[in-house]
Every structure is written in C-alpha cells, then in structure tokens.
Amino acid sequence: MAHFTKATSIKDWLNQRLAVDKVEKVMMSEYWIPKNINFLWAMGMVLVITFALLVVSGIFLLMYYVPTVEGAFYSVNYTIMREVDFGWLWRHIHGVAASVVFLIIYIHMFTGIYYGSYKKGREMIWISGMLLFVAFSAEAFSGYMLPWGQMSYWAGMVITNLFAGGSLHADGLVEWIRGDYVPAQAFLGRFFMLHVLLIPLAIIGLIGLHFGALRIPHVNNQDGEEIDFDAESKKYLDGDKAGSKVMRFANDFMSKDMMVVGIYLIFFFYLVFYNYGFAMDPVNFDPADGLKTPAHIYPEWYFLWSYEILRPFSVDLGLILFAFAQVIFVLLPFLDRSPNSVPANRRGMFAIWFWVMLVNMIILTAMGKLPPEDPFSTIGFYSAIVFVGQWLLLPVITMFEKKV
C-alpha cells in the first residue's frame, strides 16, 4: 500500500489520493498552446459548449417526450411546447444548437484544411474529427425522426431506402433497419434509443479520442511554424513568458477562448429567442402521414451539399457519388501529397483548390435547397462533377507543390 500521511488541508488530502495537482498541470496549466493563433482556434471550445447545451436541453426534453407513433407528435408540440413551463426554451435551444453545431463544425473543418492541421503527426486529430462529424450526422438524423412529423417520416423513409443500395435491391436490409415495411413504431423506438443513448455515448468517446489525439502533436498555429514545445515551455516556466512561443492552456488560452464563447453565446441566444424559425421546418408541424408525401422534401441545410451530389444522377451513380462524398474528407491527410503544413495562401495551387472547394460546397448547398428543375439541377450537376473532380485532382496538384 502507498504511504499516506495526515493531511494538512483538503487539497493535500485529495492530492494524496487523486493527485489533483498533477492532473491540473497535465490538463490545464502545463498543457501548452502556441501564441500565434487567432479566433478560429476557439471553435473547439465553442463546440464543447454547444454540445453541453444539447445535452442539458435534451435531458429536459427527454422527461416529457413520448416515443410512440401515437404520442410523439403530441408530446413535442403540445406537452413540451404548451404545458411544460419553459418547455419551449429547451426545445428551441435543442433545435437551434443542432443546426448551429454544424455551422461551427464546418468552420472548424475548413480552418483545419486551410492551415494544414491534418498533416505531419496530426492525422489522427483529423480522422477522429471526421468520425465525430459522422456521429453528429447520425445524431442529427435520429433526432430529426423524434417529433414524428411529415419531414421526420419522409426523411426516415428516404434515408433508410439508401441502404437498399440502388440496383442491389437489399429490401430485406431496409426492412431490418426499420423493423417494419415502412417507418413505424419499431423504427421510432430504435431511433429514439440511438438518439438518446448509443450515439451520444459514441460521441463522448470520440471527443475523448479527439482531445487525446492533440496531446502529442499539439495544436497547430496560423504560420505553420514547427514549435519545439519542450524548449518553449521550459523558457516559459523559467520566467521568460514574453519570449516563449507558447502559453498555458488555462488560464491564458482559456481566457481568450471563453471570450469568443461569450460572443458566440450572445449570437446563439439571439437565435434561440428571436430567430429560431430556421431550425423548425414548417412541414414538420404536420403529423406523420405514410400516405402523403410533402410537395418538396429536402434535408436540413447541413446535409444539402451531399444530397445535391446524390440528386442529379441515376440512382446507382448517385449513390456511389454520395458515398464518395461522405468518406472522401476522411482521406484528406493521405490525398494531400505535399510535405508543406503551412496556410493555404502559401501553397500555390492548393490555395485555389481550397477556395473552389469552399465556394462549390456553398453552391451545392444552395442548389440542394431549390426544387429539382432547371437551371438549378444543371448547376447542381456541374457542381457535383467539380466536387468529385477536385478530389481526384488533389493528389496530383499537391505532388507537384514546391517545398516552402
């Protein structure tokens, strides 16, 4: 047994049993962050806070939500919205956060792409981040089923049909996923379970992995500078705080981080209180009806770009390109053949690649929202081809990139 002495304080008592000082150093005061970063580096903390908002609001919704096909719509639109005091608050926080979290995820992703934060030892940060994106997408989709409105039902129908694999006609697999011939009680029950238990568990585990993946390579910086974290942190601890290129995670970096979080939360609650409509599709205020398709089915905005890649093609080609779009971002660290891990503006052709990718994804998003008719379907068709073409070109243009 380890040797314990009479504690001189509560902190000492805890220190002997839990090594709280050591934990504090490892996690906060001696976790080193580069100084040359900007507000885009706060997006991780913004995401943590948004996830916390989703968990808390979700807990309150869970207490009144009824996961049955007869009761779900009523429990959301009557019980929670009309009867529960502040029920509307939890629902609007949950709905707005579910939408905004994807905006921040996309900013976080494109920041990583722009600054090359997926290269040179940071591959696992990128991969775990993309797994988080997949888990968040599944969480968003399963949550969208729960109010059991028209959009819930028909999105459930269309997305589960994707698993038939086009010409493979794996209808048995689709019926297995649904537990019925169409989305019904079995379907709602299992997606409820996925939404409130299994996927959140996976997300929490992946967040742990994502943070863990940062420890060894450390956070990237905005100049693509390779920092010797051991030497710089020693300089800092020896008293040369101004000369050191790094700072403590807490409280130095956290104070900046939480400043950005504060501004974000003002924007967030402005949306919750005054502009929540964008996160609440009017069609979903009609109860689910398996015999009536809404005039125009579209996913939430954050899925529109990949939906638009599916849409203009025949079913098999559409599915293949859709699957391609879903997985290709994961492979970015391996498709980018250049050794440079510097901001895109210093990487020649890659800078053009980056901005075309960003703008094209915005175009795909806009076309996905518009009805499937000309000229939108033609623009969407060419945008989808540009998207696929860019990924095929990436290894070539980065192979010929000059070493910076």
Binding site: N161, W176, G179, Y181, S314, V315
Partner: protein, 176 residues
Amino acid sequence: MKNSSRRGFMGKAFGAVAGIGAVASLFAMKKSWDPLPSVKAAGFTTLDMTNYKENVMITEKWRGKPIFVLKKSAEVMAKEKGNPEAEARNIQVNGDNFMVAIGLCTHLGCIPAFREDEGNFLCACHGGMFDASGLAIKVPPPRGFDIPPFKIEGNKLVLGEAGPEWQAMKDNGVTL
C-alpha cells in the same frame, strides 16, 4: 516458460468462450431488430375491384405503403397497345383493366402525385415521372412502379398473396 504457456492456454480458452458468446449475442441482437410477427401477420389487404371508376386514381394501403389503383379507360388501353412493357403490367379483373402498383417512387420511396390532366405521375422529391401504366418515363427512378404480390379471386384482389398472374410477372422481370 511453463507459466507463460499456461497463461497462453488460459488466454486461448477465454478467447474461445468469448468468441462463441460474441457470435451468439450478435445473432440475438440481429434477430431482435427483425420485424415482429404481428407486423408480418398484418400484411394482407383485400380490394373489391368493382368499386373503382375509370381514370380516377385511388390510393389504398398495404403494409403501411400506398397502393395506386387506376382503372384504365379504353383510351388508355389503346395508347398502351403495341408497347409490350406496358401491356405486361396490365391486371385484368372480370374484364376490367387496372394498374395496381406500390405508390412509391422506385428511386428513394417518395409518393409521386397523379396528374389527372396529363394522366401521369410526378415525384416531387427528385423529379421522377411515371406513365399511367406505371412505367418510369423520366430519371432518377431506375424502373417502373413495383407491383405488390396479388391474387385474383373473382371480383377481388388479395394483396400480399402471390397468385399465378403475379408470379408470371415476377418471373418475366416485369416487377421485383
């Protein structure tokens, strides 16, 4: 050495037990997600075919899915003449001609709307189109409407049971 080989044996023995357990639990988990017997048993619908009027599209329900029933007029039948694909899909009950099909777009399962003036179906989701005999006339749907298993019993049509007429359609690749 002796110890490590004992540990090796224990490891393998545990691995075997755990492996069997894992396969068995995966089997149970898979089966727990299967459609329930009550869901499967509710899979039959009987339609009285004398109730339908010409050129009026009626939507029935079978296994929670919409079933399009369209009694075809002589005009539509004349249009179909000479098109073997359309003729093969025709269902004749007591001398009347019908289009009976699962009313879900074969692309991703939305319900196309019947347009009475044009006499065809348009899917709002991705713009697919079907004619009055149920054939796809505009992509993305890869094929015409699927025809549910049916059995003709006098004036009645039993959906969910495979009669000889449906079996022939399936064998000839008219429907899935």
